[in-house]
Amino acid sequence: MKLAYWMYAGPAHIGTLRVASSFKNVHAVMHAPLGDDYFNVMRSTSERERDFTPVTASVVDRHVLARGSQEKVINNISRKDEEQHPDLIVLTPTCTSSILQEDLQNFVDRASLSSESDVILADVNYHRVNELQAGDRTLEQIIRFYLDRARKQSTLDRSVTNKPSANIIGIFTPGFHNQHDCRELKRLLAELGIAVNQVIPEGGYLKNLRDLPRAWFNIVPYREVGLMAATFLEKEYGMPYISITPMGISNTADFILQIEKLVNVWAYALSDKKLNYKFYVDNQTKFVSQAAWFSKSIDCQNLAGKEAAIFGDATHAASITKILVKEMGIRVSCSGTYCKHDAERFNEQVQGLCGEIMVTEDHTEVGDTIARIEPSAIFGTQMERHIGKRIDIPCGVISSPVHIQNFPLGYRPFLGYEGTNQIADLIYNSFNLGMEDHSPDVFGGHDTKGISTKSLSIEISDINWTLEAESEPNRIPGFVRGKIKRNTEVFAKQNNIPEITIDVTYAAKEKSSP
């Protein structure tokens, strides 16, 4: 058993439901006790969804516990089949069904005999995978199901499209800024002269899935969901894929370079000669994206050398780390992710870019680390935003888990060239607010509060400060005060000084300055 107050990634069935309900006309039936259908609440509130979430529960109650589900699941599936005529019904196991070990596959087999919809059982192991992995798996499963069937019925059209085209895989509900990212990606591709063959799962119709292989290549914007499907399509249908996230200027340039390479492999099929995007990238970087200019401007100079801590899913945390370090000259003291299953790749990505790498699912560990580092700004999830609130450090939200605030109505992509603008704003505003907040302190402003030790975990200091010395850190601007106080205490401890007088503070300051 594990003591847990908060989790970054949800349980497996959430991932399955997210993918299933992103497709058009797919219904998910959960095998779960009453109250486990809170996914409907999450989707309906956070994304302000106008339509009923296509998820129902086949309720597990005492009777099911005693006698098994028997006909109940099958009846519920056929009922949904009659009521709403979905193309596909996904039977979704939960932790409860994994413990009950009922033969859900058997229910699926029997239900598919009588129902017009296709019925499949989401193949996820509750205890082994989390929300993101399950979403990844379910997406692959659905694609495989329909492609295999098309192949069997030989309705599969294996000719590639005349013009270069791509599938965008992994846009789904309620993903962090996914809708905006999708629009930006489509725009980017259009400007590159590449058609979008399909976007899945969001808004995709299952009957179109058999045309997936007609695209020249696949794009997986987020590492968390879509990679399995892309690998499957590469293996079975020889489709190459790009898994570079076009977030930030250099990543976007790399992304476009990859596209150029892939498309030019087929160059003979094009009427024109080889494609060259160099001019496009240059133009966009200089004029459409303001980020490159911004990082050269005086504003950004002020940010140079400032410290930041980053935490989020693997895709966003790694990309933002790269942007901060390489594009803005900000020091990233700590970069971390909760995607433990992707730790290796994450390490590889941020290696050399940051002071320390943190891979954990424990928010107290994240909080304590941030409190220890005391960065000038945090970029993280909603949890880090609250950590920042408590220790008075500004935070920009860059990754799920998120809040209704992170589903803005306005256009806020993180990807592509417009994304670089948005990210630059987000980063600059976080730091800027921090400076503004502290400038009154510099002028000895309104600060009459005591010294905050800025630590999340309660630590009792056994070192005394004389009254005089105590007033010394008050003269130091607030945003470095906690650190200086702690340095002084460390210094005192190292030198066995029981009481900190004003002399000690100066001695400590001398020692710590290089």
Binding site: K2, L3, S44, C95, Y126
Partner: protein, 464 residues
């Protein structure tokens, strides 16, 4: 207790949306200040707690998950040792006066013997451990509180009228049992001394003291509340104690109080709305043989202050989908406010515990000349939405899963969960309750062009 039949009782499939009963943790940990709630179960429950009760998690709540892992399910790990380890950590970190274990579906299915382990660990770590099985297999939403309070009845001290008399001085200092014998009949005072009234149901302390005050006006002193603000202040229970519920979902607690603690249950309507509050006080008065004083004037006065809201509610129709068991009381109040209730969905209907409330509902319908609404137990949300399309109610009181989609289909909605978190008890809060109900009706705007329905699905239908 007298039961009676209402001809329009129905029971559907139970395919409805509600919160998992462990959500009671979200308000109970705030109510019982020195408690710590440990939910024993899988990630699914933890994720629910984190998402459904919203951002409260960030305020350093005194609750956590003991998250079962694969080893726990397959019994490779020893439950008792695991729980001991976790409880010791909780003790070190937070030092609560009581740890409340919330059993979930998982612990039910794998038959983890929480009730058996608790007393052993209690001895070992020196903190009381209360076990409540608030799982989605058996219960819905607010019934979670019922299971916790029922478990807590066993921890209340034994009532002893002599001890109470001795301590009367102390109690007077707290202002709880402030009776001035001057104005009252002498034997009445003695009677009150011998009996004691305990109210059960978790209410914010402000609301609880308002109800205390209402009863004090009738010279009835409330000797305690279950739950109390602090675990150590649980009220004394036993023979000679009258108990009365303030919420309609507390039937197990009521049963435990009667059968296990030999208390006398006062079966009254619930103090929601001025009418409910008056009926509630009247019923308690009748038990204590007191003639209620000035209640009618007080009720009329409250109604007068509500007049602006009543103009909005008059003649409007409501559909309650049902998810928190407050539905009967709210419907009764709304009918009295002049509304027409089409349907009362309710997860579970205890006809004995709610008998007085049902009777008041019937009387209210007769009085207001409104049809008796159909009461649907274990409703089926899908069928309800179909019915709603036909009936086109002015207002649907429903869960968050349906609120936005219904709004998009041009049916105004009120999120039902707000009734469990807002202060709606007592005459004073009647305004707050109506404020909630009328909000969607007040903001009704016809300005958004000609869009009658903003649902995407309907648009698609028209296209195809």
């Amino acid at each position: 207790m007298k039961t009676f039949d209402i001809p329009t009782f129905e029971c559907e499939t139970g395919n409805y949306h509600t919160f998992c009963p462990i959500s009671c943790v979200a308000w109970l940990y705030q109510k019982i200040e020195d408690s710590f709630f440990l939910v024993v179960g899988t990630k699914t429950r933890g994720y629910f707690l984190q998402n459904a009760p919203g951002v409260m998690i960030f305020a350093e709540p005194r609750y956590a998950m003991a998250e079962s892992e694969e080893g726990d399910i397959s019994a490779q790990l020893n439950d008792q040792k695991e729980l001991e380890r976790i409880c010791l950590r909780v003790k070190n970190d937070r030092n609560p006066s009581v740890i409340i274990w919330i059993g979930t579906c998982t612990t039910e299915i794998i038959k983890m013997d929480l009730e058996g382990i608790a007393p052993k660990l209690e001895k070992q770590i020196g903190i009381p451990i209360v076990v409540a099985r608030a799982n989605g297999l058996d219960y819905a939403f607010t019934q979670g509180e019922d299971t916790v309070l029922a478990a807590m009845t066993h921890r209340c001290p034994e009532f002893n009228c002599h001890v109470i008399n001795q301590h009367r001085g102390d109690i007077n200092n707290f202002g709880v049992a402030d009776i001035s014998p001057k104005n009252k009949l002498f034997d009445e005072a003695i009677r009150l001394n011998r009996c004691s009234l305990v109210l059960f149901g978790s209410l914010p302390s402000g609301v609880a003291s308002q109800l205390n005050l209402e009863l004090k006006r009738q010279s009835i002193s409330v000797s305690g509340w279950l739950p109390s603000q602090k675990y150590n202040e649980l009220p004394a229970l036993g023979e000679g104690v009258y108990v009365c519920g303030v919420n309609p979902f507390l039937s197990r607690t009521a049963t435990a109080l009667m059968r296990r603690r030999k208390c006398q249950l006062v079966g009254a309507p619930f103090p929601i709305g001025p009418d409910g509050t008056r009926a509630w006080i009247e019923k308690i008065c009748s038990v204590f043989n007191i003639k209620p004083n000035g209640l009618e004037e007080r009720e009329n006065q409250i109604w007068k202050t509500l007049i602006d809201y009543l103009q909005i509610t008059a003649g409007k129709s409501v559909f309650l989908m049902g998810d928190n068991l407050l539905e009967i009381s709210i419907a009764r109040f709304l009918i009295r406010c002049g509304m027409v209730v089409y349907e009362i969905g309710i997860p579970y209907m205890d006809r004995r515990y709610q008998a007085a409330e049902l009777l008041l509902l019937q009387q209210t319908c007769k009085k207001m000349k409104r049809p008796m609404p159909r009461i649907v137990e274990k409703p089926d949300n899908y069928s309800q939405v179909q019915r709603m399309h036909e009936l086109q109610p002015d207002l649907a009181i429903t869960g968050m899963a349906h609120a936005n989609p219904l709004e998009a289909r041009n049916i105004d909605t009120k999120w039902s969960v707000e009734f469990t978190f807002a202060q709606i008890h007592g005459s004073v809060n009647a305004r707050d309750a109506l404020e909630l109900v009328t909000r969607p009706l007040r903001r009704r705007i016809d300005s958004v062009s000609d869009c009658r329905s903003l649902s995407k699905q309907t648009v698609n239908v028209q296209e195809s």
